[in-house]
Symmetry: C2
Subunit: 505 residues, 2 copies
C-alpha cells in the first residue's frame, strides 16, 4: 500500500525543523502512481460496470450535510451470478478503486467458479468518491475532511451492500469481504462490526495491530532491514553506513549541489533529508513489493527486486564511493526502465493525500528505527511532536487510542477466541507490514495464514506463470476456507440446492 | 421503560389531523415520573459517587464540536473491588440515570459477591448529561439534537470504560454490561460491536427485533390485550368495546364536557383522542409493570395490577355504564394512592423528550393493532404518514432501515449462530415488549431466558420477599452465566488466582 508509507516516511526521516525533531509529513509520493504505470489498467475493466451510490456524509449523526456519490465497480463475471449466489466485495483502500481492482486479480479470477458477483467499492475521499463535489472542496480544510474516517467508510460499505442486495433481490446472497493493507484492515473490522452484512473476510497484509504499543514500533524497519540483510550482509551494511556519509557530504559548502548531481536530481537539494526520504522510501517500498516475479504495482520492477538492488550495490569494485553504490541500488526502484532523465523529489508537491489526514487523526501507527537491527537511521517515535505537527498542519488533534477503543487490538487473542468467526489474516513475512499483522490463529475460524516468502498482499494479485508453489497453495487454502464459509451459510439457511453447489475451482 | 411508550402512543392512537391519520407524537408522559415517586430514590445512592466524564459529541468525525459532560455513578460496593475484579456497567437508557440505578437493584445486590465495581452511565441528552451546556440548548432544534444517536451513546460507553480502566489500572478487569429495555438493546449491541470492551451482556426486555418487519408489528398490542384477557375475558371485552362508546359520546353537543366530568379531568377535553391516549397508555404501562408485588416503577401500584384493574371493571353490577367501568379500572393505574383530585392530561405539555427524537430518527419501531386479537382500536402502521410527521415536527427524516444496517436483526439466528458470544436476552412474556425480543437460544453462549409470568425487566429489579420462585431461579441462572463468563475470561488470561476466586453468591 503506497500510501501507508506516508506515515512511515513521516516518522523515520530526519527533521526539517529543529523544534520538531524526526517528524515529517505530506510526502509518500515516491511510490510511483497508477497514472505512470497504467499500461495494464484495462485488464479487468472489461469485466465491470462503473456505478455511483448516494451516501450520507455522516452515518452516525443527523447533522444536515450534503450527500456524496460513492463510486463502485460491479462485475458479474462470466454472467454466472444470480441470487443467492455469493457477492465478493472488495473494501476500497486509500486510493483510486480502479487501481485496486487492477491489482486484486485474485478476486476477479476466483469469482466465476463461485458464480459470484464482484463489487469493488471506492473509499470516500479517494478516487472519484469525493464529498462536496470535488477533491478541491473535499480537501479544503479540517472541516471538510472531518468525515474522512474508517468508521464512516465501513458504514458506507455496509449501506451500499444493504442497498445493492435489496435492489437485486439478493438478500440471501452471502457477502465475502476482501481487502489488502488498509483495505484488509477495513475488511477485518467490517466482519467484526457488521457480521450481519458479510459472512467472512479475507484480510491480506492488514496491520491491525500496528497501533499504540501492541506491536513493537520497530517491526516495520526491522523487517525492511532484514529483507536486505537476507540478500547480502554487505548490502545491508552499505545502506546502513550511507546515511552518515550523506549527511556529512551535505554539510560541505557545495555538498548539496554535488549530491544533487550524483543522484541526478532535477532540482538541487535544499537539505539532505529530502534525499534520505527518497532513499528511505525506495527501500521500504522495495520490501513491500519484493515479489518473486516482475511486477509494476508501485513501479515497474524485476522479480525479487531487493536481490537486484543488492547485486548492484555489491557489484562495484572495492573502494567505490558508498553513495555511488546506493544510487545504483535505488535506481532499480526509481528507474528500472532506464527512461528517467532526472529524478524529481517533489513530483507531487501539492499532493495533500487523504492518508496524511487519516494518519493525523485515527491511523496513528507509532514507528521507530532500532539502532542495532535497522539499516535506517535510529529514531524513536515521539508522539507529542507528532501531534504538534498534526495540529500545525491540519488544525486537528490526533486520537491515538481511538482505533483500539473502536476496533480493539489489545489482547486480541483472548477477546476473539470465543467471539467472531470467518476471518483470514494472510501475511507474508517479507512484507514490513507483517509486523503489525495477526500471525497466529485466534480460533478455528479466525485464521492466520503466514508465508515466509510473501510480500505485501501478494495473494490478492493475479496469478502468474511464475507463481511459486507456496503462493499457489496459499491461494488454494484461502479458496477452500471461503468455500467453507459459504457452504456453512447455505447449510444454516437450509439452501440445500446451494450447499451442494459446485464451488470448487 | 416508560419512554418506549412514547412511540407506542404515537402509533396506536387516533389521529389529531385528518391529513395524517393515526400518527401522533410528543406524548408518553402518562408513565408517571421519578419526580413524583422518589420516596425510595436514596436506596442505592449511598453506595455510589457521582462523577462526570468529558465526551466528544461526535466520535465518528473530526468536526469541531463542543465536548460535553457525561454523568456516571460509581460504586465500589462493600469496598471489595480491586483490579482485576470485574466491573459491572449499566448502559443508561433514555432518562435520568439515578432513576435507572434506583430501579436496577439486581446489579447493586449481586456486585459485592463478585467483588465488582458498579458503574451506571447516563445516556447522552438525558438527565444531566446534556451537550451544549443545558437541556434547553441541547433540545433546541434538529441541529443540536443531531448527535443523539445510539451509536454515539454506545461509543460514549466504550470511551468511558476504556478511560476508567486506564485510570484505575484496571485494564485486566472484565466488564459485564447490563441494561433493560432500550438500555438492554444498548447492552446487547455494545457486546456485539465492542467485544474487546465488555466480555458479556445481560440484556433484559430488549426488543432488538422490533424493527422493520422482523417481529410482527401487532405483537405489542396483542400482548397487552392478552394480559387483560388472561385475567378476565369480560375485562378485555369491556375495554375493547369502550373505544366506540367513548368516541360516540364525544360527538354529542356537550359530549366532551360530560366525558371530562366523568373522567375527573382538570381541563375539559378538546377531542376524544386525548382521552383514548390516556387510557391506552394506562393499559400499556400496566402490562409492562404487571409485577407480582407492589411496586412504584412508573406509578405506585399493587401487586398484579392488571388483576386489580379487571376486578374493578368486572366488579360493577350489570348495566353499569361501560365508561364508568373503564374509569374505575384506569384509576388503579393513575390514582392507586387515592390522592389525585383531578387528572391532568397535559401534565408535561412541554416535555419534548429525547425519545421522540430517537423514534423519529433511528428507533423506528412499526406498531399496529390487529382487529381480532387486540382490545385497542384497530390501526395499521403507516410509515409515510409517520415520516411526514417527523419532518414536520423536527425537520428530520427518519432512517427506518438504519438500525438493522448498523446492528443487524434480520435472520439473527443464522448470523449469530457462529458469531458473537456471552449475551443473555431475558424476557417475560407478560411484557408487551417481549414480542420484539430474542426468545430462543441462538448459540450455546447467546442465551434466551424466557419466563411466562415476567413483566418488563423484572429481573433487574431489587429482590423482594415476595419474589416468586421462577424469578429467584431466573436471577440465579443469570448469575451463574455471568460467573461463567468471568471465570472463562480469567482462565483465558491465565489469572489462576482469579479463576478460583469465590464468585458464588
Amino acid at each position: 500500500m503506497k500510501l501507508f508509507l506516508v506515515l512511515l516516511i513521516l516518522l523515520v526521516t530526519a527533521a526539517e525543523s529543529a523544534s520538531i525533531p524526526h517528524v515529517r509529513r505530506f510526502l509518500g509520493h515516491f511510490a510511483g502512481s497508477r497514472l505512470r504505470n497504467n499500461a495494464g489498467a484495462a485488464l479487468h475493466a472489461a469485466q465491470y460496470e462503473t456505478r455511483y451510490f448516494r451516501q450520507r456524509l455522516d452515518h452516525f449523526s443527523f447533522a444536515e450535510l450534503p450527500d456524496f456519490n460513492q463510486r463502485y465497480l460491479v462485475g458479474n463475471t462470466a454472467g454466472l451470478w444470480t441470487p443467492p449466489a455469493p457477492i465478493f466485495f472488495y473494501c476500497g483502500n486509500e486510493g483510486d478503486i480502479e487501481w485496486f481492482s487492477e491489482n486484486t486479480g485474485f478476486v476477479w479470477e476466483i469469482a466465476p467458479s463461485f458464480s459470484a458477483l464482484v463489487v469493488f467499492a471506492e473509499h470516500r475521499y479517494y478516487g472519484l468518491s469525493m464529498p462536496f463535489g470535488s477533491k478541491e472542496e473535499a480537501y479544503k480544510d479540517a472541516k471538510s475532511l472531518s468525515y474522512l474516517t474508517t468508521e464512516q467508510a465501513i458504514a458506507d460499505f455496509a449501506t451500499l451492500i444493504t442497498d445493492l442486495k435489496r435492489n437485486m433481490s439478493a438478500e440471501d446472497s452471502p457477502v465475502v469481504l476482501f481487502g489488502g493493507s488498509y483495505g484488509g484492515m477495513l475488511a477485518a473490522w467490517m466482519r467484526l462490526k457488521y457480521p450481519h452484512i458479510a459472512i467472512g473476510a479475507l484480510a491480506s497484509s492488514a496491520p491491525i495491530l500496528q497501533f499504540e504499543n501492541i506491536s513493537p514500533p520497530e517491526s516495520f524497519y526491522d523487517i525492511v532491514s532484514s529483507d536486505f540483510k537476507r540478500e547480502s550482509m554487505n548490502c545491508f551494511d552499505v545502506i546502513k553506513n550511507s546515511w552518515d556519509v550523506l549527511e556529512a557530504q551535505g554539510k560541505y559548502g557545495d555538498g548539496l549541489i554535488s549530491l544533487s548531481g550524483k543522484f541526478r536530481l532535477c532540482k538541487d537539494l535544499n537539505n539532505t533529508e529530502q534525499l534520505s526520504d527518497w532513499l528511505d522510501s525506495a527501500y521500504s517500498y522495495l520490501a513491500m513489493v519484493d515479489y518473486p516475479y516482475a511486477s509494476s504495482f508501485l513501479m515497474p520492477l524485476p522479480a525479487y527486486p531487493i536481490k537486484e538492488v543488492c547485486k548492484k550495490i555489491d557489484g562495484f569494485p572495492d573502494g567505490t564511493d558508498i553513495l555511488d553504490r546506493v544510487f545504483a541500488g535505488v535506481s532499480i526502484y526509481y528507474n528500472y526502465t532506464g527512461s528517467v532523465d532526472c529524478f524529481d523529489l517533489e513530483d507531487d508537491p501539492h499532493g495533500m493525500s487523504g492518508w496524511d489526514w487519516q494518519a493525523c487523526t485515527e491511523m496513528v501507527m507509532p514507528m521507530s528505527s532500532r539502532k542495532e537491527s535497522s539499516m535506517f537511521p535510529p529514531y524513536e517515535f515521539d508522539y507529542p511532536a507528532f501531534a504538534d505537527e498534526c495540529i500545525q498542519s491540519y488544525g486537528v488533534r490526533p486520537r491515538p487510542t481511538w482505533v483500539t477503543t473502536e476496533f480493539g487490538g489489545h489482547d486480541i487473542s483472548t477477546v476473539l477466541k470465543k467471539f467472531g468467526s470467518n476471518i483470514i489474516f494472510s501475511n507474508g513475512l517479507l512484507d514490513p507490514w507483517s509486523g503489525g499483522g495477526v500471525l497466529q490463529n485466534i480460533s478455528h475460524s479466525i485464521i492466520a495464514l503466514v508465508t515466509k516468502l510473501g510480500a505485501h498482499h501478494i495473494d490478492l494479485r493475479s496469478s502468474t506463470a511464475d507463481d511459486p508453489k507456496w503462493l499457489v497453495e496459499l491461494r488454494e487454502t484461502e479458496i477452500k476456507l471461503i468455500k467453507g464459509w459459504i457452504n456453512d451459510y447455505y447449510q444454516d439457511k437450509a439452501f440445500t440446492a446451494y450447499s451442494i453447489f459446485p464451488l470448487f475451482i
